[in-house]
Symmetry: C2
Subunit: 145 residues, 2 copies
């Protein structure tokens, strides 16, 4: 059996996704190192910020496509550091709700201000339509997994 052109392209995309993921994590670590953060913490804090409302650890993990326990560890650290507060969950006595503290909101805004010009610079010179197609295609692929 030989690979179709689409199959070959898919494989190339997979390899590129792995490579990009590593490089983006490294960039994120640089961007966050001086505010007690990291790429991993930022992703969790960002998920909370983007949701706009308190979420359980499970919810956050699901939205990130990651395991519950990994997110739990990061969340615990950030509660300790004061970026996240725990609120009682009327639905579940053990599963507390995570919400951003003022400090959490603040650091998130700082990071977004740093990230913005960087994102603009990366997107610079790339056709907006190509970016849109890329995003759509990646989402389609993700749904097939």
């Amino acid at each position: 059996m030989k690979a179709s052109p689409a199959g070959r392209l898919f494989t190339e995309i997979v390899l590129e996704v792995f490579k990009l993921s590593g490089q983006l994590t490294a960039e994120g670590d640089k961007l966050t190192q001086d505010v007690q953060m990291s790429s991993a913490r930022w992703k969790v804090l960002g998920a909370l910020g983007r949701a706009g409302n308190p979420m359980t650890v499970s919810d956050v993990a699901h939205s990130m496509g990651q395991s519950r326990q990994g997110v739990q560890r990061l969340a615990n650290e950030m509660v300790e550091l004061g970026f996240i507060a725990l609120a009682d969950n009327p639905q579940h006595k053990k599963a507390k709700l995570l919400l951003l503290t003022d400090k959490g909101v603040d650091v998130l805004q700082q990071l977004e201000q740093k990230q913005l010009p960087w994102a603009e610079a990366c997107a610079q010179g790339i056709d907006a339509e190509a970016l849109q197609i890329t995003l759509d295609t990646l989402r389609k692929l993700e749904r097939k997994l």
Copy 2:
């Protein structure tokens, strides 16, 4: 400062790349678990296979966009398991060349046969042109990092 459309798209793509990377690693682990392999090992073995000629650990790490030491550890494991052999490097006494053993070639072929129909299924229903644009765009982004 507000995000341009391209900047916003870029940020969405970044999040999608993180999510996809995790899911693809999980898929790869499923595909490889019964042949003493893993996603991480497969990536190294695959890089060697794709290159077609012996490479040093540094070369492989660079081609994968990963650190030298991470690849070193995986390579050492696979030498131990007999998937990779070490050959003297006329250019450098310490930096041995990695090459696939027969067992390594064999397992790589097995995995490629498993991966092929899966890649075809994932690519199914997605426009080949969109896949090409996605690949090109990801590569452009990678070069900007």
